[in-house]
Symmetry: C2
Subunit: 472 residues, 2 copies
Amino acid sequence: MTQFQSKLLDEIKRIISDQRRVLWEEHDLYSYSFDASFGTYLPDVVVQPVTTDEVVKLVKFANQYKIPITPRGHSTCLSGGPLPVQGGIVCDMSKMNQKLLIDEEDLVAIVSPGVLTSQIHKAAEEKGLMYPPDPSSSGVSTIGGNLAENSGGPRGLKYGVTKDYVIGLEVVTPEGEVIRTGGRTVKNVTGYDLTKLIVGSEGTLGIITEAILRLIPKPPASETLMAIFDDLVDSGRAISKVLSSGILPSKLELMDQASIAAVENYEPCGLPTDAEAILLIEVDGHPHAVADEIASVREICKQVGAREIRMAKNDKERQELWKARKLVSPAIAKIKPTKISEDATVPRSKIPDMFKRLKEIRAKYNIDLVVFGHAGDGNLHPNIIADKRDKEEMRRVEQAVSEIFAAAIELGGTLSGEHGIGTMKAPFMEMELGTVGLEMMRRIKKAWDPNNIMNPGKIFPEPGQKLVLTDE
Amino acid sequence: MTQFQSKLLDEIKRIISDQRRVLWEEHDLYSYSFDASFGTYLPDVVVQPVTTDEVVKLVKFANQYKIPITPRGHSTCLSGGPLPVQGGIVCDMSKMNQKLLIDEEDLVAIVSPGVLTSQIHKAAEEKGLMYPPDPSSSGVSTIGGNLAENSGGPRGLKYGVTKDYVIGLEVVTPEGEVIRTGGRTVKNVTGYDLTKLIVGSEGTLGIITEAILRLIPKPPASETLMAIFDDLVDSGRAISKVLSSGILPSKLELMDQASIAAVENYEPCGLPTDAEAILLIEVDGHPHAVADEIASVREICKQVGAREIRMAKNDKERQELWKARKLVSPAIAKIKPTKISEDATVPRSKIPDMFKRLKEIRAKYNIDLVVFGHAGDGNLHPNIIADKRDKEEMRRVEQAVSEIFAAAIELGGTLSGEHGIGTMKAPFMEMELGTVGLEMMRRIKKAWDPNNIMNPGKIFPEPGQKLVLTDE
């Protein structure tokens, strides 16, 4: 143990009385050194607070001695948000999970940051309500992490993302003060919207200790259809036609040929591996409306040349259809050990152009590129499969990733639709935001966190910082 | 003309070549000295820019010489947002109204700030789309003003407010730099959400020169019902029961006895003046769903004791039912010349408590208090009718308004649901946000506008500032 660690530990043990919630042994620190993106960074100590008061004391201490402090949930993050890149304290919020209240009258949930997102889904559903944001990780990710990264998911198309459902927060500021933003009312225009500033700020503006989430009545019915296309361009036309027909599907997901092949190779689902694209479309709402709408969607897919359409007749068949989409991620992870999952997002109308650009990039750098994702809102997931031990391949991957970002921005899109910036995309921020845009964000960070202790090294690039996917 | 004005004018005429767009005569300045709230403040000069470049030059000039600059639309504001409380330049954005593009494929509208909100409604509807936010002023208010104040409206209950539909902005910062926030994609998590920070910041963080708005498919059908109650408490129970039944009405409006009496006195609509409350409920969506849902709403209203339920059979009857609600504002303005329109908002479950508190406040201060508004989302509009020439009455009104704010906050609500803070509610900000909460907002303002030239004197209270509704 270094002298710094030993001193740190003494102080922290004074703040956290239950010493089992202070971790410093090497294997513990290693467990907290990575997330689902790239790079490993050892913290000096890990603390698991369970009350706002403990968080306040920790942050005040960190701020006084200018020690970096990085809040963290279950670290399913795909962009490096919870990585302690400058060491210091990792503040593991997953044990602060006591509160999960559903208020049926006010249509809100009040939650502690360590609660799993899927627990909120379940609790809301038990009362006939729905918390719409549904990131793929919801079974294992904490709501605190979802809030920090403003997570999305397939339902974003119709229902929006995490931010659209957060109406109030309790936050410990980088100087260790407690503020309450927003409240229990859906309408609130009292001053600047700190709630929506903090959600998605990746833990750089404070630590969320409680959140008030807006709920909606659970749609009583849903229908799912799978449309198989020989031509990727036709699937793009189907998406456009559905969306301009007055129907807003609850999910509109796409799998390209490489995704289909990967799934069939991993666990055969009866998908045609020669098809260029599969669309999975779900509509939800009133039973009569849903029956009508799914018939229209079917008709549109037929018209634009789908070679086959599969309709689910019951819940079991619905789950079967969705199974293929859920298997994409595990399936492609089997091809090669390293998966770089991007979420560059383009305006809906530019999806065909983006596909063209991705095809060119795949050929140019000779990389394994699989494309799937939330096509309905332009939020594609180009995934590159590689082996990080192969340095030469990883250099090509770095270049390909840079070009994917450039393509998305050229097409009027954004670096990140739902995964966040973290460490991975920081070098590309100026390309999207311009010097002044980035500077205006930096001013907020400096004004709120003058000692730069709150999750430093995220979002804002260091001068000359480049994307590096190798460990050199 | 003062020497200051004369110098100012010389400089501004160098920036704005078309001299008809620079106003300085006394009658012009007077026209720009008020909004729909309280107080009159003369600017030194009024400028009507038509390009972003002109706005940039104006703001750079204002920043260099530390001259206050206040952006303004059509000034229907109910909280003092566009009042030039420190004089200087009023930047009238209403002539910057060239752009109104509807992109059906991306489901967005791209608009100049001077475009009327109702023009956006119309343009979207022509393409089968909808821009949901619908403040009562939409026929005369500019979208720029709606963005600055984050306007709401009756559809907020189901569809949310202005902020929920803004995905990108072009903004001139207080130092005269142009930034673009967000973009044309619904999902975007690239850095801090400057879009949602600027929307609702009441023109204190920059001047919006273009906006990208999200549109949705226009719901194909709607149904309206009017339920009349002898007991206000029963109407509250009806609201709760409807909202917890799984139905999310597109509008759920309430009129209390005083509103009903005012309307009948102003223009008889056949409303029972002895009823304690009227609810107007609209559901929209798929025709089958709508038919089903309005039948359920009717059943619920009956069960909780509505004495009469009126259903609209066609568009004409629907308009008839809504007419009563639309007449409330003009009707109460006839009672006495001064109308103080508040928008204190409480959690839905606290609406009955808020009614009780309002009744007590009315009796305590012997004031004319009328209550109506968007009951479905807790956004009531307590309106006090008075005569501002009666100083003694206005003192009582000031005290009553303070107590209304205190009651809303005590019940877990907020000062303002949709009208904004401006000058009117600034003295009450700390009561809701606490010292630190307000300080964190102030830090953003200082970091973005170091010379405090951008709409100064709004949102943040001066030390010791109190609500004053008289001209003393």
